[in-house]
Subunit: 442 residues, 2 copies
């Protein structure tokens, strides 16, 4: 395929006319599809329904340690639930506190209590003039929303296929005591699906932060969320807590995970993993904040999945439903956009997203055009702090929720909009150049 | 029965010898009972087990409004769950946000976000030099723990059978802008089982706070937790939100409730009720803090209880199990301590506690003596801010958890310890008086 940038003005104009007609045709179809969020599909949810047969009126409601899960008691999670979440994160159960239904709240609480009470004896962030977080971009909008909510200044760091630009991370973390944290989705990153390389993880573990209370917010949301069964297509990542310990920085990372995309979204089990020192600090707040989280749901999950093999088997079923969708989107992108020079995209082995990079200044227009024709994408800019993508070019594609048929329609529309907006942009550029030449001539 | 205060020194000494012998006998029995917390009994929990048959692998998981409860979406609760919690609190569903598994966390979040972000546009409390809360005493230790955690100064207000001393509340609230809140358990109060009178509720609704962001923290934890079926033995309370609205103070109250002592402790559904203005402010934080709470558990509860009649019917079953326990404790107290002048106690129509008032300076010793013989009570002082009961006389009795047989043993031990500690105190007083007389003579 010829790069759009090499087309003449006339070629562009005739292409534009053709695309506009196609677009009007699609608009006429009255689509109404939502690809805005990384949501499991109905088929994925149906597949897990037998979890509701695990507990019934005749069930023994006693945990392995003899706790009646229906009553008060146990602040930080059932032993077997700690083990389950530890296995998911690849850490020890003793490093885990089990929380409620989803991990966003755990991250919020971690930031909130650092703001009001400080981290392990350090000054509460609300008493400091300035607190900054590093935000690898593009990244997860809800991370950025938390830091923005607390008035924390966000500094962007570019992502690479190996993880954040570590030269920059090291420089910023070691040179500025007001840098207190960094948001990471280290495996199958949101939105790219990148997995941090071993070198990146080791450089994280060996950071020399100026701030004693600097913490890596390691949101391991997709640790077991592979799309492929072949070992070689399953990304691996070094375990951050043990790497931090080896590096003499045992307290530097908080790790988060949940079963939201294993069992049910927003009705799963969430957890934090951290060092003994961090957990002691967290428990001091937790014991004031809650009488404990829902132990019945913890027991339901543990009895259903049984062990880590059970989790992995369940994730293979998710993958079987998700893989064809990712592949369908990638196929259309490949067929329609390869060589056009108007878009680049990632080809992840797992996670929930594909990251699309349009020509500069096109993302907002593409998303708007899709919306106008009935397909809602994640808002352009959402993957950047304050919703500001300086190049206006990143779009997060979430292929999981629509049915395969809907997905085909939606992706066709998407590439059409990419083409149309890109052509418009190039035509406009021609016009500007001409205007410039005319002016010069005049 | 003769008041202990009227006994001669010799009578006291011989009584003391007799009680000490009895105490040694009880100690020999090797009791191991826990009456420290207001926990439902195993029989109460067993009674609700059929809630786990409500959802199974074949269930329709769609809410009345068409929401798939297994997926993301719906920040502030299913419509039917709002209605359920609204009925429990006696408010409108539109004034309700449904939360997670227990209400303590909701109260914590309300205080925490006031500290970091302020209430409805007012200055965040963390930016103020001084923030104070009024604490009716004796009261609930976990309320006091939250305010203490955030460095909020606690000012005690005496409780009466009609509610807090409202003369004092009005004076403190209207005269001091740093008074930002008051903790209330308005119905079947913890620990007395008192219910605020209509006049008290109206005076609350008509408060003229100096602080615009003063809030009444109305923890309606026991709104449907009657012990008796007869109408005339069921306490009624005026609904605070509508009273506040009538009084021109629509935004002055946050109301909290949960099903922790309806379905299961720590695995129920919690909620806040408040004005539209308050809810708008709360949602601004909530949308950052969480992707939404566990809607599956909300659906399970709604399908199980069906409607408010279902809740009331279920509470009658709880009452049938709890009533004999309250009555057994009250009977022993009456038979053993009436007229002795060494203790007073409440006779609640509902809730989870009986409040016991010993002679001054005896509570800690009574609790310690009980513990030494194998019965754990709520720590003396726990019902006061900072754990400091200035008269050292309040003890919270939680009769619900032990079996009837255990409860008989525990209550016998309790009255024995009350007698023994009181006699020791009176003997000591004699000794001091004598010492004083000898000194004077000398």
């Amino acid at each position: 395929m010829k790069a759009y940038q090499e087309l003449s003005r006339d070629e562009l104009l005739s292409l534009k006319a053709k695309l506009e007609k196609e677009y009007e045709d699609v608009k006429g179809k009255g689509l109404k599809l939502d690809m805005s969020r990384g949501k499991p599909s109905v088929a994925q949810l149906d597949m897990g329904m037998d979890i509701f047969d695990v507990l019934n009126s005749q069930s023994d409601m006693t945990s392995i340690e003899g706790v009646d899960v229906r009553n008060y008691g146990v602040l930080d999670g059932l032993g077997e639930a700690k083990q389950m979440m530890a296995d998911i994160m690849g850490v020890k159960a003793e490093n885990v506190i089990v929380y409620g239904n989803a991990s966003l709240n755990v991250m919020y609480d971690a930031v909130s209590s650092a703001v009001t009470h400080g981290v392990m004896g350090c000054t509460p962030w609300c008493k400091l003039d300035k607190v900054k977080f590093l935000c690898p971009v593009p990244g997860y909008d809800r991370h950025f929303a938390i830091t923005q909510h607390f008035g924390i200044e966000m500094i962007t760091v570019p992502m690479t296929p190996q993880g954040p630009d570590m030269d920059l991370v090291e420089k910023l973390v070691s040179g500025d005591e007001s840098v207190k944290g960094i948001w990471c989705v280290p495996k199958y990153s949101n939105p790219q699906g990148y997995t941090y390389s071993d070198e990146t993880v080791r450089r994280f573990a060996n950071l020399k932060p100026a701030a004693k209370d600097f913490r890596i917010f390691w949101d391991n949301a997709y640790s077991v969320h592979h799309l492929y069964e072949e070992e070689e297509r399953q990304d691996k990542i070094l375990e951050i807590l043990s790497e931090c310990e080896k590096a003499g920085n045992p307290d530097m990372a908080y790790e988060f995970a949940s079963t939201s995309k294993i069992s049910f979204s927003g009705a799963g089990v969430a957890a934090i993993a951290a060092s003994k020192g961090n957990l002691e600090c967290i428990r001091k707040t937790l014991t004031i904040q809650t009488i404990g989280y829902d132990k019945i749901n913890q027991l339901r999950h543990v009895r259903y999945f049984k062990d880590f093999e059970g989790i992995k088997a369940h994730m293979r079923k998710h993958a079987a439903l998700m893989r064809p969708k990712f592949e369908a989107v990638l196929k259309v992108l490949e067929e329609e956009l390869a060589g056009t020079g108007i878009g680049e995209w990632t080809r992840p082995n797992g996670g929930y997203f594909i990251s699309f990079q349009s020509m500069e200044g096109c993302a907002k227009a593409i998303v708007a055009k899709c919306k106008e024709a009935g397909v809602t994408l994640t808002g352009a800019g959402a993957t950047y702090p304050y919703g500001r993508d300086p190049k206006d070019s990143n779009i997060r594609i979430a292929p999981t929720y629509p049915s395969p048929e809907e997905l085909a329609l939606a992706t066709d529309l998407f590439v059409l909009c990419v083409k149309l907006v890109s052509v418009e942009k190039l035509v406009e550029k021609y016009a500007r150049t001409e205007g410039f030449c005319e002016k010069k001539a005049g």
